[in-house]
Symmetry: C2
Subunit: 218 residues, 2 copies
């Protein structure tokens, strides 16, 4: 077996590490910031044992690192570019797989028909923030918000949405974001806030993409 062959095989191992839905879910959570195995397991809907095994695979592929902190092992992405990598994977898949399009439209299908719910692009969001016409709402759990968020964002975890409406400004359009393009939290938040009469749309990406693009975070 030639060196070149071995190189491609090693690359393939890394790609295989990305080739499982649970592991992609783990990576999505890790893109929000470091987390312990139990946290990761519950976000991904896995048993702790199983999550641990998947994390070992990601570690062997060089995608995550683990550091002990007291009793817990805290996992981190090794490389910011992994967010870009999965984002590009997503783009290629959305463009070239009909199946993908079908699933994406289903995920966002229960929008009302007004069309105003179309997601806000990164550029549009930047303009809105610059002009002060947009308020940012982060609907992720507090722990993830604390680990990093977009500048000026207000954190209202989805579970407490109706209890904390007083934190929302009335005079500006609200843009809600969460973990990424496929994260349902911001979508759900938009649905519920619109029912209550708020002017609100989703950001089409999430915190990790914003950060990976080199934009400022807090």
């Amino acid at each position: 077996m030639t060196s070149q062959h071995q190189l491609l095989d090693t690359l393939a191992q890394v790609a295989r590490a990305l080739g499982n839905g649970h592991r992609l879910a783990l990576l999505e959570r890790l893109a929000q910031g470091g987390a312990a195995v139990e946290t990761l397991a519950s976000t991904a809907g896995l048993t702790v044992g199983n999550a641990s095994q998947h994390l070992q695979q990601l570690r062997r592929a060089g995608l995550v690192t683990a550091n002990r902190s007291g009793k817990q092992m805290i996992y981190h992405l090794t490389d910011e570019r992994i967010v870009t990598l999965t984002g590009l994977l997503r783009q290629v898949a959305e463009t070239n797989l009909a199946e993908m399009e079908r699933l994406v439209s289903r995920l966002f299908a229960d929008d009302d028909a007004e069309g105003a719910l179309e997601a806000v692009s990164r550029d549009e969001l930047l303009v809105g923030l610059e002009s002060g016409k947009v308020a940012l709402l982060d609907v992720r759990p507090e722990e993830e918000f604390e680990a990093g968020h977009l500048p000026e964002a207000i954190n209202i975890p989805l579970a407490q949405l109706e209890d904390m409406l007083d934190k929302l400004p009335q005079d500006r359009e609200i843009v809600a974001y969460c973990r990424g393009p496929y994260c349902a939290l911001s979508h759900e938040a938009v649905q519920r806030l619109r029912q209550l009469g708020y002017r609100v749309r989703r950001f089409e990406e999430g915190y990790p993409e914003w950060k990976a693009a080199g934009l400022p975070v807090t």
Copy 2:
């Protein structure tokens, strides 16, 4: 199973399609331009039947398309971004896997010790071409050269290198390139030309990366 879960699974299928060394080899060849199954099989060192099966998988993942031309099926990449995707995969792997570094350095280990063989970066190459101080040498097979190459490049397939030395300019440094960062052709060419006293280095990327970066091709 939620829609979101299905989306990640579908993404994972695409990643799994990249998760095999033979398929990465097929994609590398396809990044040079369309090709028939037998061509692809022989470049990747596979039987035709086996290559066909791998190509079906790539097709199901939306990474390649097939069009019949007479008796032959001609395969193409569906999307230029696939080159960027595998390139990013490579970068992440090289940065985070010790194994990878070891293999890369072995692939390029038999350089003589002068150090002058360090690869030429894209930016450096652009400057050299601009100033007219560099001549480009494409050492891929003629068929791939014909399907597309860097501007002003001279084509001398590696097999005919010694027979066509008269096509090489004497007054400029030569930069050789081939299929990509792991393609051995340009490396081999540099070794042999240096033995003959030529001033020559490798381009660290290849034709597909150049094209995917939006730079001009012929």
